[in-house]
C-alpha cells in the first residue's frame, strides 16, 4: 500500500509535467481586448443627484426609527414593565443548517483560551480538552484526547492531519439526505427528514457491507448504530466521486467506506433531529485506537 507521502510525491511529480508559460499570442490577445472591455465607474459613486436623495431619505428614516425606539423605551419604563423585551432586541435564532458556520466561540467557557487554526484549518489539542462546535441549531461537545486535532469550521476530530485521511476520525453533522446507492449517490439521493427515515434509508442502502441497525444511546439520546465496510471487490474507480453514505448541505456529506476502512455511524435522535455521528478507522486499527474513538463518542454532549 502506498503511504500518503508516496501519493503526494507521485501526484506532485505528475502535475509538474506540462506547459507552464502563457503563450505570447495570448498575452497579446488580452492586451488587445482591454480596449474593448470597459471598466465601470466606481460603485460607491453613483449619480450624485440620486445619491443625495437616497442619503436624505435614509437619514430621515434613521431619525424616525430612533425616535420610535426612544419612545418605546420611555413608555415601557413608565409602566414599570421593564422585563417585556421588544422584538427588535431579541437575539436572532441560529437557524443555519450548515455546520460550516463560524462556531459560537464567545459563549462557552470550556474552550481553550486560544483556538487559532493552523494552516490546514485545524486546531491542535496538544494537551487535550473540550471541543465544541455548532451543528445546525445544536451545540455539540466532546472531550478530546491529547495530540488530536479539531476542525475550525465544522465538527470533526482527527488524530493526525486535518487535510488527508487520518487513521481515526470523528465527525458530527446533521443528516438530510441518504442516497439509495452509496456508489451512484449523485443520482440516487433521497430526502430523509427524520431519524427513523434516515435509519430506514441507511439500512436499505446499497454499495457496501452493512451490520445493523442496533439500538444504543449517544450523549443520553436514543441512537441506531450501523457498521459499514467496503465490499471485497470494490473498484472505487467505478464510483464517479467515491462512495457516499449521506448527503445534504455541502459540508454535511460523509463519504466512504474505502477498502481499508470501517465506518461506524450513529443516527442520534436529538429532539426529532437526525444527527449523524461518524467514526472512521482503518480496518487494522488497534484495540487501543478503537477504545480511544469509542471514548470520544461516549463523551459527546448535545445541547439543543
Amino acid at each position: 500500500m502506498n503511504t500518503e507521502e508516496q501519493v503526494d510525491r507521485t501526484l506532485e511529480s505528475w502535475l509538474a509535467t506540462g506547459p507552464t508559460e502563457l503563450p505570447d499570442r495570448s498575452v497579446a490577445a488580452i492586451v488587445n481586448h482591454l480596449d474593448n472591455t470597459k471598466q465601470p465607474g466606481p460603485i460607491w459613486f453613483p449619480r450624485r443627484i440620486k445619491m443625495l436623495r437616497f442619503a436624505t431619505a435614509l437619514g430621515s428614516a434613521a431619525v424616525l426609527v430612533l425616535v420610535a425606539v426612544l419612545a418605546i423605551n420611555f413608555y415601557t419604563n413608565q409602566q414599570g414593565i421593564g422585563g417585556q423585551p421588544s422584538p427588535t432586541v431579541s437575539p436572532a435564532p441560529t437557524v443555519a443548517a450548515s455546520p460550516s458556520m463560524a462556531p459560537t466561540v464567545a459563549a462557552s467557557p470550556s474552550l481553550e483560551p486560544t483556538e487559532t487554526p493552523d494552516q490546514s484549518g485545524c486546531i491542535n489539542y496538544a494537551a487535550g480538552g473540550t471541543y465544541r462546535r455548532s451543528v445546525g441549531t445544536i451545540s455539540v461537545s466532546a472531550t478530546v484526547p491529547t495530540e488530536w486535532r479539531g476542525g475550525a469550521d465544522a465538527f470533526f476530530l482527527v488524530n493526525t492531519s486535518c487535510l488527508f485521511s487520518a487513521s481515526l476520525e470523528l465527525k458530527v453533522a446533521l443528516v438530510h439526505a441518504v442516497p439509495s446507492n452509496a456508489c451512484d449517490w449523485r443520482s440516487t439521493g433521497v430526502e430523509a427528514a427524520t431519524p427513523a427515515a434516515v435509519t430506514a434509508a441507511l439500512a436499505a442502502q446499497e454499495g457496501h457491507e452493512t451490520i445493523g441497525p442496533t439500538d444504543t444511546t449517544v450523549g443520553g439520546y436514543l441512537a441506531r448504530r450501523f457498521d459499514f465496510t467496503a465490499p471485497a471487490d470494490l473498484d472505487i474507480g467505478t464510483c464517479q466521486d467515491g462512495l457516499r453514505l449521506t448527503g445534504g448541505t455541502e459540508g454535511e456529506e460523509f463519504g466512504g467506506p474505502d477498502r481499508d476502512e470501517t465506518i461506524t455511524m450513529y443516527v442520534v435522535d436529538v429532539d426529532g433531529l437526525a444527527v449523524g455521528v461518524y467514526e472512521r478507522r482503518l480496518t487494522d486499527a488497534t484495540e487501543a485506537q478503537i477504545a480511544e474513538l469509542d471514548a470520544l463518542v461516549a463523551s459527546l454532549r448535545f445541547e439543543p
Partner: protein
C-alpha cells in the same frame, strides 16, 4: 509592487494591468492547463480570467487579496469551460515528449502510470480537480484554498479527500500491474 500596479490599473492604466498579466499569467495558465488538461481551453480560461479581472478590478476592496481573487476568477472560468464542453475528452490522448521520462525500461511504467493518473483525473469533477491542483501543484493549504474559492474548509477537505482517493486508486492499480510484470 503589485499594489502599485493594481492601484494604477484600477484607474484605467492599461500598461499597469499588462504588467500584472505578465506577472501572473504563467502561473494561471499552468493551473488552468492542469485542471482542464487542454492547452487551448486553458488559454481561453486565462484570457477570460484577465478580461474579467480588468472589468471588475475596481470592486476588489483589498488589493492584498488580488492573487487569491485571480484564482477564484480562474477556477470559475475553468468551470465555464467544462460546462461548454459538456463532456470530457476520451481517456486516450497524445503523449508529448515532455510527458515521457528517460528512455529506459522504467519509462514504460512511467508512461503507463501517467495514463492511469490521467484517466483517474478525468473522472474527477471540475471542483475536485481544482482543489487537487491548488494543493498539490500550487502548494496552497486547505485554509488558503477555502479562502481563495469562497468555500468552507470542510468542503475543501471533502473534495480533496475524494480526489486523492481516486488518484491513489490509480497509483495502486499501477503498482499492482508493475509487480506482476504486466503493462497497461
Amino acid at each position: 509592487m503589485d499594489r502599485d500596479l493594481i492601484s494604477r490599473a484600477k484607474h484605467g492604466d492599461k500598461d499597469a494591468f499588462t504588467s500584472l498579466v505578465l506577472r501572473h499569467g504563467d502561473r494561471l495558465y499552468s493551473v488552468a492547463y492542469r485542471i482542464l488538461r487542454d492547452t487551448g481551453r486553458a488559454d481561453d480560461s486565462v484570457q477570460q480570467t484577465f478580461l474579467t479581472a480588468w472589468r471588475e478590478l475596481r470592486r476588489l476592496r483589498d488589493d492584498d487579496r488580488f492573487e487569491a481573487w485571480l484564482y477564484r476568477l480562474l477556477v470559475n472560468a475553468c468551470f465555464a469551460e467544462v460546462r461548454h464542453t459538456r463532456r470530457w475528452q476520451p481517456g486516450l490522448r497524445l503523449i508529448t515528449d515532455s510527458d515521457v521520462g528517460p528512455s529506459t525500461d522504467d519509462a514504460q511504467v512511467s508512461v503507463a502510470l501517467r495514463d492511469e493518473l490521467e484517466r483517474a483525473f478525468r473522472r474527477l469533477s471540475a471542483e475536485q480537480r481544482s482543489v487537487l491542483v491548488m494543493h498539490h501543484y500550487i502548494g496552497l493549504s486547505g485554509a488558503e484554498i477555502a479562502d481563495a474559492l469562497g468555500l468552507s474548509q470542510g468542503t475543501v477537505r471533502s473534495r480533496l479527500h475524494y480526489a486523492r482517493q481516486q488518484m491513489r486508486a490509480a497509483i495502486e492499480a499501477d503498482s499492482r500491474l508493475a509487480a506482476t510484470g504486466e503493462t497497461a
